[in-house]
């Protein structure tokens, strides 16, 4: 069993910072991390390897300078082999270019039985790269998976969508994406982390994958803080009188909204 986990270095959106005056994000001040769902994808791959045997490889697109720590994190979790496709200004690549590079990589370094991705990235949360990879490779697929079971060579995936629960039964080769419900990623021990530091990953260029087309980029004209104007009225509640005051204001607002 050969498994590939493509991972993305994302902005930690829980630590977003904006310029108070212009409303523009101060991205240099925002840490970049491996997304939670990417971690769950690695965990899912490792568990499949542990029960069925095989290897877990991982792939990212970016630059050595920014991605090194994340690559070490993936090794510390227990992955067998890592690859980094170096692309200048990788943050500007559009989702199609990313999916295209992953599919070209899988064709050249595979075939992979299973490609597992996080359902959404931490920062742009589009959920479109996994399905695009599946259609570029013409693999079976299922997305947003919460539960994984393997029964007699058949993989059973459960996903919860807006209208209910779907159960997909697939056989490799396949592309799947997992949510944070799928598992709890393991936390590497100090020994794992030290071992990972000695690991090397292969670095390649798009040209090594016979990618000739010009990678399309996102033409962003502006990014601004998005905020619906709110009244921002605050009430501090210490005493019983404060409780009354707060409750009265809530009731007034419910009336204004024609709820009561």
């Amino acid at each position: 069993m050969k498994i590939l986990v493509p991972i993305k270095l994302s902005y930690d959106i829980n630590q977003m910072k904006y310029d108070e005056r212009t409303g523009e994000p101060i991205l240099d001040a925002v840490p970049m991390i491996m997304g939670d769902m990417d971690r769950c994808a690695i965990e899912a791959a490792l568990r499949l390897k542990e029960s069925l045997g095989g290897t877990v490889e991982f792939l990212s697109i970016g630059s050595r300078d920014t991605h090194n720590k994340m690559m070490m994190d993936a090794y510390a979790m227990g992955c067998d082999k890592g690859y980094l496709i170096e692309v200048d200004n990788y943050k500007e690549l559009n989702a199609y270019s990313v999916a295209y590079l992953i599919s070209k990589f899988a064709e050249k370094y595979g075939p992979y039985d299973i490609i597992i991705l996080g359902n959404t990235s931490q920062d742009t949360h589009s959920s479109i790269v996994p399905p695009a990879v599946s259609s570029l490779l013409s693999y079976s697929s299922a997305f947003g998976i919460d539960k994984i079971n393997v029964e007699d060579g058949e993989y059973v995936f459960e996903a919860t969508y807006e209208d209910g629960i779907y159960v997909f039964k697939l056989r490799p080769p396949m592309v799947i994406s997992v949510t944070t419900e799928a598992n709890t990623p393991r936390i590497p021990t100090l020994k794992d982390i030290l071992r990972a530091k000695r690991m090397k990953y292969d670095i390649l260029k798009p040209s090594d994958l016979d990618v000739e087309l010009e990678l399309a980029r996102v033409n962003i004209s502006s990014i601004k803080r998005f905020a619906t104007p709110r009244r921002g009225e605050m009430i501090e509640v210490d005493s019983d009188e404060d409780v009354e005051k707060a409750v009265d204001r809530i009731v007034e607002l419910l009336k204004e909204a024609e709820i009561i």
Partner: protein, 298 residues
């Protein structure tokens, strides 16, 4: 502009109509996966492709391959939902067209379209310049546009349904945060499952619905659905949160509310930055008193 849509259900018709006008559409076609939905929506589309099958990525891919062999839509629109995004991604893989999700509006500037989408957990809006052809996964918003009547042809697709996928529809209970005027939301400040009774009681008294944040549903299993980017997106008149800190992924599902009211002990909680009324205090004092007060009025 020849516009193609993936029609998850009839509630998306006014949304697609809105974007059809913004994008100066001239012809509107769509794909549905059920006969009932096709019958319901067909009159608002020039052409409605019908593939009578339970949803699966395989079905979507087969349908798109066929449709793309027949016509080349200039723009494709998808719901920014779980299935809609998956379908959009499959479409992107097949066509190589640029695709943007979480789109809430589009401005036209000369021969370019400026697509406005949410990024960074909905805390920021990015404006992206695109030319034809492209695809968008759009947010539902609350468009009331009456759709125009069109040619209304239904085209059944000769594609084998997917018999391997099983679907269990969500139980329709009286509690529907997606359509309620007020949604009462519990966060981690609610200490015990029994205390959810207070949340449900307030929802009942105000004729609304209740919901929770992701940890309460996914980790504690107190509910089977939550509000946030991976769960429900709601746009009620009032969203009232008890013990909700306001992580970006949660708030992305709540920002459509006209009024946001939050009760939390932590005055630094991010939710207060986006509240119309913020109460810094113990929800266990405020919530029971609010319930009593509303009972007095009934």
């Amino acid at each position: 502009m020849n516009i193609f849509c993936f029609i998850e259900d009839s509630s998306w018709v006014p949304v697609f109509e809105h974007f059809y006008k913004l994008l100066s559409g001239t012809e509107l076609s769509g794909l549905t996966l059920s006969k009932e939905i096709a019958m319901e929506v067909a009159k608002y589309f020039d052409k409605t492709y019908l593939l009578n099958s339970t949803y699966s990525p395989r079905i979507i891919m087969d349908a798109f391959k066929y449709i793309l062999s027949q016509a080349k839509p200039q723009i494709a629109l998808f719901p920014s939902t779980n299935k809609g995004r998956a379908a959009a991604g499959i479409y992107m893989g097949l066509t190589g067209l640029p695709l943007y999700t979480d789109v809430y509006s589009v401005d036209v500037e000369g021969n370019k379209f400026l697509v406005n989408r949410l990024v960074y957990g909905g805390t920021a809006s990015a404006t992206i310049s695109v030319e034809s052809d492209f695809a968008l996964a759009v947010l539902k918003g609350s468009y009331k546009e009456k759709p125009q009547s069109r040619f209304g042809e239904i085209v059944p697709l000769d594609i084998e349904p997917d018999y391997t996928v099983q679907f269990k529809a969500r139980e329709v209970s009286g509690n529907d945060p997606s359509s309620a005027d007020i949604v009462v939301v519990a966060g981690r400040g609610i200490k015990k499952r029994e205390d959810m009774k207070l949340i449900e009681e307030l929802a009942g008294l105000t004729g609304g619905a209740w919901s929770v944040t992701r940890p309460l549903a996914a980790d504690y299993r107190w509910a089977d659905q939550w509000i946030g980017i991976s769960g429900l997106t709601v746009s009620p008149k009032v969203y009232i949160a008890f013990g909700v800190s306001g992580q970006p992924h949660h708030l992305m599902g709540a920002r459509g509310a006209k009024y946001i009211i939050a009760v939390n002990t932590d005055r630094e909680a991010p939710i207060f930055e986006e509240s119309d009324l913020g109460i810094v205090g113990d929800l266990y004092k405020v919530l029971p008193r609010l319930i009593d007060k509303l009972k007095e009025k009934v």
